[in-house]
């Protein structure tokens, strides 16, 4: 019974405080939309590049035409020399220079290998990747054609095909077929928002009670005498709220922005409940350190990016130093981001993410115990004061 009373109290507290509503209701609803909107163009197309064609041969023009025809790159200008081309790089009118040497066609007729220079402004890996893959794909394609037409001399069309590529290959990009940014950024961001908004919301609500109750995090009421009930009652409120947010993220955001959606609802719910609980309990433990309600913003907001990098999605987990990896196991986000990404984006089942689920389960138990201990201490303080 007490649990329900505490649950109701928490609901009352939160919905009478615009500050907390902002974090636990508006933020998880609005932020995913903003981020999805930032990243949904998914890919960069037509990166402007400049060409310097010293060869001026039909072969070099053919090469440039083909590069221009790729979706990733657009040849915006042909310059007469490198200095001129470089000034375009300086002005950021182009991000790469394709330089074709004057011996390009000559070497080719002599049967020698010839090179095309690609000079890239390294301000963004995306520009580099676009320019480099466009050039290398065109060169592979032209090489095949040259090889067959000039040297191997097939007799039938089928033979020409076989000679061009005796072993054919296909690349299949699984789970993110367009190679887009949103499909890889948004799912982890959603779960990160959940954890951070819970930390902020719980921190603020703790700070609020501290400010209201003269430095104590629990009100002087006979309902608040059992730490397990307090922790569970509060958690129950956030859990119910975040299941709604979870379904919103899983269904609305994913559908609205056309993100990969391979997971099953049941797997998702099975993951979400322990994840939100672990975040709640850790939030309670961390907010032990918070004395004023606004302080939690100072501490929790900047943490999101280091936590995001720790989880091994954008920076591959295999390249993360061991020390940081073990440290990352302290936070639910490490497991949560990976598990959610794999459930929703890659269609993994709960058993496929068993490692992550075990991690979350251990965290839930440990942080629950810690939160109970903290509240026990607080209850003792209140009792002492009452006495």
């Amino acid at each position: 019974m007490n649990i329900i009373k505490i649950w109701y109290d928490e609901l009352q507290t939160v919905f009478h405080d615009v500050g907390i509503i902002l974090f636990v209701v508006i933020l998880p609803l609005a932020y995913p939309i903003i981020y999805a909107y930032v990243y949904t163009p998914e890919v960069q197309r037509d990166v402007p590049v400049v060409a310097v064609d010293d060869s001026k041969s039909s072969l070099s023009r053919d090469f440039l035409r083909k590069v221009d025809a790729t979706p990733d790159v657009k040849v915006v200008q042909c310059c007469t020399n490198m200095t001129e081309a470089y000034s375009l790089l300086e002005r950021q009118d182009a991000y790469a220079i394709i330089h074709i040497d004057k011996d390009f066609a000559k070497a080719f007729t002599q049967g020698k290998q010839t090179t095309v220079g690609l000079y890239c402004n390294m301000m963004s890996m995306v520009y580099y990747k676009c320019a480099a893959s466009a050039c290398s794909n065109v060169s592979i394609d032209m090489n095949r054609k040259i090889k067959v037409e000039n040297y191997l001399r097939p007799t039938t069309e089928r033979e020409a095909e076989i000679m061009a590529a005796p072993i054919d290959y296909v690349h299949t990009s699984l789970y993110n077929p367009q190679g887009g940014y949103a499909a890889f950024m948004i799912p982890p961001i959603l779960m990160m928002i959940f954890q951070q908004s819970l930390f902020l919301g719980i921190g603020m609500s703790m700070g609020r009670s501290r400010e209201r109750n003269g430095g104590f995090v629990i009100p002087m009421s006979h309902f608040y005498k059992n730490s397990i009930e307090i922790v569970l009652g509060k958690m129950l409120f956030y859990l119910m709220l975040y299941i709604v947010h979870g379904l919103y993220a899983f269904i609305v955001i994913t559908k609205l922005f056309g993100l990969p959606q391979l997971g099953h609802y049941w797997d998702f719910i099975l993951f979400l409940i322990p994840y939100v609980s672990a975040c709640c309990f850790l939030g309670m433990v961390l907010s032990y350190l918070i004395f004023r309600r606004e302080d939690c913003m100072l501490i929790f907001v900047f943490m999101s990016l280091p936590l995001y990098f720790m989880c091994g999605l954008s920076w591959p987990g295999s390249a993360i130093p061991d020390g940081i990896r073990y440290f990352s196991y302290l936070f639910p986000s490490t497991f949560g981001l990976n598990a959610y990404m794999r459930i929703t984006g890659m269609g993994a089942s709960i058993s496929d993410v068993s490692f992550e689920m075990k991690g979350i389960a251990i965290q839930t138990v440990v942080y629950f115990a810690l939160a109970c201990l903290i509240y026990m201490k607080k209850i003792r303080q209140v009792l002492k004061r009452e006495a």
Partner: protein, 390 residues
Amino acid sequence: MKEVFLRIWRIGLREIEIFSHRPMYLFVIIIAPLFCLIYFTQIMRSGIPTKMPCGVVDEDNTSTTRSIVRILGAMQNTDIVAHYGSFSEARKAMQKGDIYAFFYIPRNTTDRALASRRPEISFYTADTYYAAGSLLMKDLQTTSELAGLAITRASLTAKGVSPSLMMGILQPITIETHPLNNPTLNYSVYLNNIVVPGLFFLIIMLFTAYTIGYEWKMGTQKELFEMAGESSTIALAGKLWPQTLLYCLIMILIDVYFYKFLDFPLNVSLIRIICAGLLCVFASQALAVFFFGIFLTLRMGMSACSLFGVLQISVSGFTFPLTAMKPVFQYLAWISPLRHYYMLYVNQALNGFKLVYAWPSIVALLVICLLPLTVLSRIAHAFKYVDYKP
């Protein structure tokens, strides 16, 4: 004039007094940015992720296919961690997160290749892991291309083509890539130069709004306003100078650590990039004052700062390019100190271009620094009449 400086000085001393009672302040201003600096440079200390887990499904299992797999295993980015018996096993491993990619060689590949029946091999990358997927893709594509070329080479040798002519036939056109000023594709250089200042600017914005709003929370805003002789300019200047000094020191420390200690590419003098950093520090503070001036409450001021500060890390466009984003973000980027820092860093430190090409960013930063002027009277009004609302 002397009196003005005296007031600013006294308010500053009062601020330092407040600081000394709150260890959390020092944690936020000093420890947090330095933690980010060490943390991010440590996590990416290898520069580029190499030897990422990759699987192989070799249903053919002949000496030819094994040698293809060995070639793949020798590649820089690839670490073959497992051989799977079937496609679905490999896919399952991918869903479990054991591997980022796998190479699939179907049965009879060698037979078909030798009989000129053009077998097809394939590779699969999990592109939900963007960096890992695309780095592995490069290796897998090279290996697949080489597999075909090996057969062409064998048939050319049989026809009596000399090895010296071979490369001109197999690969007439090669691409020589020159990643300017970051030849090793060092991700630490690429990301940390923006991520660390980005988080630092976020902390600056939050903390500036916090310290100003804190006066209202403690109910000391009227006392401060009196000390400032009823001038919001003096009140803010006095309040902000001690932390500004700290910010400047930390910004210099970040730059020295990057360019002198870690030897990140620096093609201008250190002073220039430090100046760019400091200008962005001031712009971040100004933006925080501006946001506070619009909302006039601690909570909303800080919320606006955190929203903007976090968002500008994406909108600055150093990962996903701003040029591909929707126009609304391209306009928003104009008031983002981080975006301009990124432009100045690319223009100056990374590439050593002429400064004249970066003038729009400098002008924009100076304009951002002037933004608080528009809200000074609002803040003055708030000092007199507005009370703290939780």
